[in-house]
C-alpha cells in the first residue's frame, strides 16, 4: 500500500527517452565551454608533493593504513573502508609519506582538514594490481566490493560513495542513467572524457549495469555536444554488441544536469520527496564515475587521477588536464598559463553552484571537476543589495517549483519552521533564483543557512525528545515501584486483618524464630567447625 502510494506511476524502461520532457523553470545560460575544449587533453606531470585529505567524500573516513615516513607504491590504499558508505583513498604515485597535517580543503569552505602529504619519488612504481578484463564472470557483489576497494565515489562533484548507490534494498532496478549532461557554464571535463575515451564510459556503464542487474543503460548528453555523440557512435557497436546502451541528447537548460532534473527530462517522472531514484527503478551515475569503474575493474586501477577543467575569464589558457589527486590548485593554474592580476575568486565547480576557495594550495580531490578563476571586473556588482520587490522572476526559474522569495522572507525573519513547511529542503541550490534577482539578494546563502539551522533545530528536537523519553521512563519506573510496594503492603495488611491468618502468621514467625535460635545454638556448640569450614 505504502509502496503503491510512493510509486503512483512506475517508470517503464522502454519509455525512457522515447520523448523528452521539460522541467519547470531553469535558465538558458551561455555555456563558455569551447574555450577549454580547444586545447587537447594532456596529463599534468606529478608534482613533488601531493596533499591527500583523508575525507574526500560524503560518509565516514576509513581507517588509516600508513605511517609517517613509510614508503608507498602507486595505487596502494592509504585508508581502508569498513562499510559501503566509507571510501578509501590511494597513493596517486609512489613515494614517501611525509606527514599527516591540517591543510586547507575545499569543503567546508575556508577550513583545514587532516591531510596526508606524499612526497613523490618520481618512479611511478605500481603496486600489484588485479585486472579482470573478463568482468562478465564476476558476480554483482564481487564487482561492488572491487569498486569499493578502488575508492569509487561520484565524480560529478557530490562524491557520494558509489558502493552505497549500487547495493541496497529497493524495488527492481531497470535502468542505469549515466549523466553526461554537464550543464554548468565553463565545465567541460566530462565532455573531454567522452570525446577522448567513449569506450571507457560505455564499458564502465555495462559493468555497472551488470552489477545492478538492469536492462538498459541510458547516457544523457547535451544537444550541443555533437562531437561527443559522434565519438559514441563510432565505438558503440564494437564495445556494446548487445545494444544495451543508448545515447540520448537533451536540450541544454540549466540545471538539467542535476540528477532529479535529468530524470524528469528523460522519464517525465519526479523522484519522490524524501525518496531516491531507486524508488523509480533507476540509478543515476556520472559518466566519469562509469569510466573510473571501467578502469577499476578491467585494469584494477583505483581512482588516483581525474580530468579537471581549468577555465574562467581570468585564466590565460583555459584547458582540461588529467591531474593526479592531491595536486594543489596552484599547479593547475600555472599549467593553464597563470591567472590575471585582478583575480578575485577561485571557484571549485561552476559559476552557478561552485564552492569559493580560500587558497590556491587546496588540493584536487575526487569530486573536483573544475577550477574557475574570476577577475574583479567579472564579479563587480552594479548596485547594493536592495529589498525584495516580489518580482517573481525567482519563482519562474526555480526548477523545484518552490517560492524562493517567500522562503527568503521567512528565513530573514528566522521563521525556519515556516520555511521548512514551504519545502526548503527540496531546494537543490542551483542558484537560478539568485542569478535573476534584480535586488541582488544572496538567496542561496539564505537557503543554506536555513537548512543548517533546521538541521540543528532537528538535532535539538531529537535530543529533547530523547531526554523527555528518558525522563518519562524514569517516572514510570518509580511509579511502578511505588505501586508494587503499595500492593504488597496492602496484601500484607489484608492478611493481618483476618484473625486466623494473623494468628498463623504470628505462629509461623515464632516457629521461625525458634528454629533460628535452635540453629544458632547448634552453631555455637561447634564454633570452630563453622569458622574452619
Amino acid at each position: 500500500m505504502a509502496d503503491a502510494e510512493r510509486h503512483p506511476n512506475p517508470v517503464e524502461a522502454s519509455d525512457i527517452g522515447q520523448r523528452l520532457y521539460r522541467f519547470p523553470g531553469g535558465l538558458k545560460l551561455r555555456h563558455h565551454k569551447k574555450m577549454a575544449c580547444e586545447r587537447p587533453l594532456e596529463r599534468l606531470p606529478t608534482p613533488e608533493r601531493l596533499y591527500l585529505p583523508l575525507k574526500q567524500h560524503q560518509g565516514s573516513t576509513g581507517e588509516l593504513l600508513v605511517e609517517v615516513g613509510q614508503q608507498v607504491q602507486k595505487g596502494q590504499p592509504l585508508t581502508r573502508s569498513s562499510n559501503d558508505r566509507s571510501v578509501p583513498i590511494h597513493a596517486p604515485t609512489s613515494g614517501t609519506i611525509e606527514g599527516l597535517r591540517d591543510w586547507p580543503v575545499s569543503y567546508p569552505p575556508g577550513q583545514l582538514a587532516a591531510t596526508l602529504v606524499l612526497v613523490s619519488d618520481g618512479q611511478e612504481q605500481w603496486i600489484s594490481r588485479n585486472p579482470e578484463p573478463n568482468w562478465h564472470s564476476l558476480d554483482s557483489a564481487e564487482i561492488v566490493d572491487r569498486l569499493r576497494a578502488g575508492g569509487l565515489a561520484g565524480l560529478g562533484g557530490a562524491m557520494f560513495p558509489t558502493a552505497a548507490k549500487l547495493r541496497g534494498q529497493w524495488p527492481k532496478l531497470h535502468t542505469l542513467i549515466l549523466n553526461g549532461s554537464e550543464c554548468e557554464p565553463y565545465i567541460s571535463c566530462d565532455e573531454m572524457l567522452m570525446r577522448n575515451h567513449p569506450e571507457q564510459v560505455i564499458q564502465g556503464g555495462l559493468i555497472l549495469g551488470h552489477a545492478l542487474g538492469v536492462e538498459q543503460i541510458v547516457i544523457g548528453i547535451e544537444d550541443q555536444m555533437g562531437a561527443v555523440k559522434r565519438a559514441f557512435d563510432q565505438v558503440l557497436d564494437e564495445v556494446d554488441p548487445d545494444q544495451k546502451c543508448r545515447v540520448i541528447q537533451v536540450s541544454k537548460i540549466y540545471p538539467e544536469g542535476g540528477e532529479r532534473q535529468l530524470i524528469q527530462v528523460l522519464t517525465g517522472h519526479e523522484v519522490p520527496h524524501n525518496g531516491l531514484p531507486q524508488d523509480l527503478g533507476l540509478v543515476c551515475l556520472n559518466v566519469a564515475t562509469a569510466a573510473a569503474a571501467c578502469e577499476c575493474i578491467v585494469e584494477g586501477t583505483p581512482i588516483i587521477e581525474r580530468i579537471v577543467t581549468i577555465s574562467g575569464p581570468a585564466v590565460n589558457q583555459p584547458r582540461n588536464l588529467v591531474v593526479p589527486l592531491g595536486t594543489p590548485i596552484a599547479e593547475l593554474l600555472a599549467a593553464a598559463g597563470g591567472v590575471d592580476d585582478d583575480l578575485d575568486r577561485l571557484i571549485l565547480g561552476g559559476p552557478m553552484s561552485g564552492l569559493p576557495l580560500a587558497s590556491d594550495q587546496i588540493p584536487i580531490v575526487k569530486g573536483s571537476n573544475c577550477v574557475l578563476a574570476l577577475g574583479r571586473e567579472h564579479t563587480q556588482r552594479q548596485q547594493p543589495e536592495m529589498p525584495c520587490i516580489n518580482c517573481g522572476e525567482c519563482v519562474r526559474v526555480c526548477p523545484a517549483s518552490l517560492l524562493p522569495q517567500t522562503l527568503f522572507k521567512h528565513l530573514r525573519a528566522e521563521q525556519f519552521e515556516q520555511a521548512d513547511r514551504l519545502n526548503l529542503f527540496d531546494c537543490i541550490e542551483c542558484g537560478c533564483c539568485a542569478h535573476v534577482c534584480p535586488s541582488h539578494i544572496p538567496l542561496v546563502d539564505y537557503y543554506r543557512h536555513g537548512k543548517g539551522q533546521l538541521r540543528v533545530l532537528g538535532m535539538e528536537d531529537a535530543r529533547a525528545s530523547r531526554a523527555k523519553a528518558r525522563f518519562e521512563a524514569r517516572e514510570q519506573r518509580i511509579e511502578q515501584d511505588r505501586a508494587e510496594r503499595r500492593q504488597k503492603r496492602e496484601q500484607r495488611e489484608q492478611k493481618l486483618q483476618q484473625p486466623k491468618v494473623a494468628m498463623d502468621e504470628v505462629q509461623a514467625a515464632i516457629e521461625r524464630a525458634r528454629q533460628r535460635k535452635g540453629a544458632s545454638s547448634d552453631q555455637s556448640d561447634h564454633p570452630d567447625t563453622d569458622s574452619c569450614s
Partner: protein, 343 residues
Amino acid sequence: MQLTLSGPPHFPPINTVGGIMRQVLFALIPALVAHCWFFGWGILFQLALAVGFALAFEAVMLRLRGKPLQPFISDYSAVVTAVLFALCVPPLAPWWISLTGMLFAIVIAKHLYGGLGSNLFNPTMVGLAAVIIAFPIDLSQWLAPRSLSPGLPGLAETLRAILTGQLPASLNWDTLSQATPLDALRTGVAENRMVTEIRANPIFGDFGGRGWEWIANFYLLGGLYLIWRRVISWHVPVAVLATTIIVSTPMWLLGPDVNPSPLQHIFSGALVIAAFFIATDPVSGCSTLRGKLVFGAGVALLTLAIRRFGGYPDGVAFAVLLMNMLAPLIDRLTTPRAYGHPR
C-alpha cells in the same frame, strides 16, 4: 593572495531594480508620444509635475526613515509611479492633483508601509483613487482628441491652465472638453439609449474611443516589449484581456443594445495600461504564476462590474486596489506543488 569567499552564484545577477524600472519607462514612450499627439502638451507638464513631486516626497521620506538616498532614488521606482499616474489624469488637470496624488502614492502607500518592496497597495492606484474621490470634477474633464477638437490649447495656455486651475479667457471648456467615451456610454445607457446609437457619437472610433484606442495600441506594443524582455510575465496581461473578452462577449451577443462589445471594453479607458503596466506591479501583486492569472482575472472582472454597476465610469483603480487586498491570500492558495511531492 586575497580571495573573495562569497557564496554562489559567482557572477553578478543579470538584472537590477533600476534596470527593470528603466525598461518599463522605455516601454511607455510610444504611448506617451501618442498621448501628446491626441491630447496636446498637457501630458508633458503632468509628467514633469508628477515626477518632481514624487522624487521630492521620496527624498524626504528616505531622509525621515534614515535610509540612504542614492540607491533608492536611482532605482527609478518613484519615477515609474509618477509617470503612470500622469498618464491616467486629464492633461489639463491643475497642479494640486499631482501633488495630492503623489502624496498618497509615495508618502502614504509606499513609505508609510515600509518603502520599496513592502507596500501592500499599488502606489499609483492609491494616488489615482485619492484624486478621483477628492477631485471628481477635475478628473472627468478630458480634452477632446485632436481630430475632434476645434484646436488643442497651446503650450502657454496649457501651462497657465495647469498652474492656475482656470482656463485662459480665450478658451472655452465647453468646446474643448468632452466626455470620455466610457462616460458617454454610461450616461447614454442610463438614458435608455442603445449602444449602437450612442456609438454614433464621433468620440467613438473603430473599437473604443477615438484617439484612446490608438494610445491603447501603443500600450499594447510597450507591454509586448516588456514580455519579450522578461520584465513582466504574460500571465497578468493575458488574464486581464482574456477575462474581459470571455465575460463581455456573451453579454454583448445577448444584449448588443445595452452592452458594449468586448473590443470596446478593451480599447477604452485604462484597461490596456492596467493589463500591462499597473496590474503587473510586482510588489502589490501575486508572485505565483497561477496567482498572477487569478489576480489578472479579478482585476478584469471588478473593472467590468464597476463600469456596469458602480459609481465611476472606469473602475480600474478600484479593481486593482481590491485585488491588492486579496493578493497575499491568492499567493497562499496557489502555492505550486514542489518537485517530488504528491500531485
